[in-house]
Each structure stands twice: as structure tokens, then as C-alpha cells.
């Protein structure tokens, strides 16, 4: 079973159409990985499905980087 970090990075790469090696922990979805606002909504949808949870809108808005996504999953589902 892959770690949470690996699973998050794999989803980010798939959703945003970037290479996995570009998905660095500090990368911002919008500024570094070229996501638009709708892409980030879809990314959160994909994370919800991968980790079988619901992320409230007000929390979802705060998840702007790869590390913040990993932190969220670790804190809420780990």
C-alpha cells in the first residue's frame, strides 16, 4: 500500500495532467502546476473519492498546495 503522500501526488498528477516528478510538496496547484479554479474543485473531488470522505467547502478552499493536501488527509483521515 502506498503512503498517503504518494497517493495524493499521484492524484494531483493525474488531475492536473502534470508529471509526478513535478508534483513537489511545496508546489501550489494554481501558481506552479497550472491549475485553474475549476481544476482545484475537481482535484478536491478526486481526493474525496480516493480517501472516501467529504471535504467541506470551507476546508477545500484552504487546500492550495500539495503539502496542504497531504496535511489535510493526514489530519483528518490518517
Amino acid at each position: 500500500m502506498s503512503s498517503i503522500e504518494e497517493r495524493v501526488k499521484k492524484i494531483v498528477a493525474e488531475q492536473l495532467g502534470v508529471k509526478e516528478e513535478e508534483v513537489k510538496n511545496e508546489a501550489s496547484f494554481v501558481e506552479d502546476l497550472g491549475a485553474d479554479s475549476l481544476d482545484t474543485v475537481e482535484l478536491v473531488m478526486a481526493l474525496e473519492e480516493e480517501f472516501e470522505t467529504e471535504i467541506p467547502d470551507e476546508e477545500a478552499e484552504k487546500i492550495t498546495t500539495v503539502q496542504l493536501a497531504i496535511d489535510y488527509v493526514n489530519a483528518n483521515l490518517g
Binding site: 475549476l38 474543485v41 475537481e42 473531488m45
Partner: protein, 247 residues
């Protein structure tokens, strides 16, 4: 890609224009979930579908209640899959001169005709975005463009849904989802049967084609927008009013 086998959610499908839309999309091969406000209305829809050989069912929905919308979507998802065609048709009138209009008359109409579109569209978008295909079709009214004395609440909602469609069309166009509005004129339904002969005469004199429209004539336009033939139209309002109002 035709709409054959796709799941279509049609609100207010027990009678009038909504019933005609549900039956039309059903005849094109879509699986229809038609909603009504009461259990008996939902049963009537299910029976009508069975009689006409349409796949699908009637279900109870209170469009003003977020929980009711959530539980409907859940049950549709489990039974049929995610709706990729949404027809926001349910609507009410509570006519009054503005000077006499109560807050309840105002907010009831806003909540049912306009806020419901927010609730249902939001609930259905997730599935459409994943599918990279979707159709949201709002049923408005000629009154939203022309105005009508005694219907400031109704006209506000009907103009509102067209603005909503234009904004949402821009938000989700990149995902293959179109959002449009169909604005019927005077259609032969229970809603217009209440008019007096005098009112009807006056109405008819304003219609170029000189007759009321039939619900099927609205349903056919909705069917067109839902089909591949309508795939390059988004954010638009199609007026279907026999020449009563020409934009």
C-alpha cells in the same frame, strides 16, 4: 452520442410542460427521473412512464429543501446512476400587484423558481464534470423578458434563471457541459387554463401564430438542446412563443 440510456432528471414532471419534457426525453431513450411534490404525484408519473414504455420513475422532491435534493440525488445515483441531463422545470406563481405583495408571496416564488436551480444544478454538476458531458436546461418564461403586471416576483425569477445560465455556462463549458434556458410563451396547460376568456382573447391577439402553444412544442426544443444537435449552444435563451415576443 445520443441521449439514449442517459439519466435525465426533470423537476415538476407530473403535468403540463414538465410532463411533456419527461415523456419526450423518455421516448428518445433516456432514463427519466421525474419529480413531483407529493407521493401521489410521483406515483402518477411512474404509472404514466410504465404505460408509455418509458424507462424511469417518479419521485417526490421538495425543490426548496436542500436535504430533499440531497436524498433524491443519492437514491437516483444508487438506482440509475448519475444524472447527466437536468431540466429545471418546477415552478410556481403567486401573482399580486407589488403594492399588495407579501414577503411570503415574494420569497416563496424566489425559493421555488430560482434558488431551487442553484440547489439542483450544484448537486448534479459533480457527476457531469466527471463525465465531461452534461446538459442543464432551465425552463423560464416569456414573462421574464416581456414583463407582466402582477408578476414581479415570477418575472424576476424567470429573468434570473437566464442570467444564472449564462454565468454557469462560462464556468463549466470547458468540461463539455452546456447550460441553457428555454422561455415558453403561452402554453396550453393548467397554469393558463385559469385565465378568463377575455384574457385569453387579448393574449391570442398578441401571438403571431394566433394560437396557444402545446407542451410538446416546448418539449421538442428541450430535446433538441439535450441532443447532439444542440451541442454548440450554451448560455443562451431559446424563445418558444409563437411570435408573441421576438428578441
Amino acid at each position: 452520442m445520443s441521449i439514449n440510456g442517459k439519466v435525465a432528471l426533470v423537476t415538476g414532471a407530473s403535468r403540463g410542460i414538465g410532463a411533456a419534457i419527461a415523456d419526450h426525453l423518455g421516448a428518445e431513450g433516456a432514463v427519466i427521473v421525474g419529480t413531483a411534490t407529493s407521493e401521489s404525484g410521483a406515483e402518477k408519473i411512474t404509472a404514466r412512464f410504465a404505460e408509455k414504455g418509458i424507462k424511469g420513475v417518479g419521485k417526490v422532491l421538495n425543490v426548496t429543501d436542500a436535504d430533499s435534493v440531497a436524498s433524491l440525488l443519492k437514491s437516483v445515483q444508487e438506482e440509475f446512476g448519475t444524472p447527466e441531463i437536468l431540466v429545471n422545470n418546477a415552478g410556481i406563481t403567486k401573482d399580486n400587484l407589488l403594492m399588495r405583495m407579501s414577503e411570503d408571496e415574494w420569497f416563496d416564488v424566489i425559493n421555488t423558481n430560482l434558488s431551487a436551480i442553484y440547489r439542483l444544478s450544484k448537486a448534479c454538476l459533480r457527476g457531469m464534470m466527471k463525465a465531461r458531458w452534461g446538459r442543464i436546461i432551465n425552463i423560464s418564461s416569456v414573462v421574464g423578458s416581456m414583463g407582466n403586471a402582477g408578476q414581479s416576483n415570477y418575472a424576476a425569477t424567470k429573468a434570473g434563471v437566464a442570467g444564472f445560465a449564462r454565468a454557469l455556462a462560462k464556468e463549466v463549458g470547458s468540461r463539455g457541459i452546456t447550460v441553457n434556458t428555454v422561455a415558453p410563451g403561452f402554453i396550453d396547460t393548467d397554469m393558463t387554463k385559469e385565465l378568463s376568456e377575455e384574457q385569453k382573447e387579448l393574449m391570442l391577439s398578441q401571438i403571431a401564430l394566433g394560437r396557444l402553444g402545446q407542451p410538446e412544442e416546448i418539449a421538442a426544443v428541450v430535446g433538441f438542446l439535450a441532443s447532439d444537435a444542440g451541442s454548440y449552444i450554451t448560455g443562451d435563451t431559446l424563445h418558444v412563443n409563437g411570435g408573441m415576443y421576438m428578441s
